[in-house]
Amino acid sequence: MISLTSNPIDIASAYKYLQADGAGAIDLFLGVVRDNTQARPVDRLEYEAYDRMALSEMKKIADEACRRWNILKFVVIHRTGLLRIGEMAVLIGVSTPHRADAFDATRYIIDTIKQTVPIWKKEVFTDGEIRVNATP
C-alpha cells in the first residue's frame, strides 16, 4: 500500500494492514519532524510533492524491495503540507517471515525514497528564515 496524504499518518491502521499469518517480523520506520536541523531550531516543515511521479517512484522502490526480499505486505505513506514538531512525515512498514528481511527492506525503502522520490521539504526556522531543498 502506497500513499501520499495531507492528513496525519495513522500507525495503528498501518500495523493492521501489515498483518499476515506468515509474518514473524514487522519493521516500522517513522520519519518525524525534529525540533532542529544542524542545531538550528526549526518551527515547522512544509512538504510539497509532484504527486503522480512521487507515487510511481515510491511504487518502483517497493517493487524492487519485493524482488530483493521476501516481503508479505508493505506500507509506504508520505505526508505532504504543513507539519509541526513531532509529526510523522513518512511511515514505512514491512512484514516478513524473518526479521533480517524486514530490517533490510525497510531501510532500503527509506534510503531510496530520500534519493529519488520527487518530494521537497521547506524548513521554516524559529527565526523566520526559510530554507528550501536542504538535503539531509
Binding site: Y50, M53, V117, V132
Partner: protein, 82 residues
Amino acid sequence: MNASINVLLFGITRDITGQTAIQHPLAPHARVSDLLIQLHGQYPRLADIRALLVAVNGEYAEPDTKLKSTDEVALIPPVSGG
C-alpha cells in the same frame, strides 16, 4: 501557430521563477537539453541548482529525450522527502 510545452515547477524552481508552471515555446525536434538551455537563459538562477533533473510524463528523462507539445515536463531539483 507556435507549439509550446507545459513545464511544472517544484521546490526551489518555484521560488526562482515565482510560478508553479510555465508554458514554454517548443522548437521542432527539441530535446530535454534544449529546453534546459532556454530555461537557464530565461532564469539564470536555475544554473545554481547543483543537480537539476527533468521528468517527462512522470519519469526521469535523459538530456537527449525528445519532447513533444503534449508531454508533461517537470523540473526536479534535488529531492528532500522522507
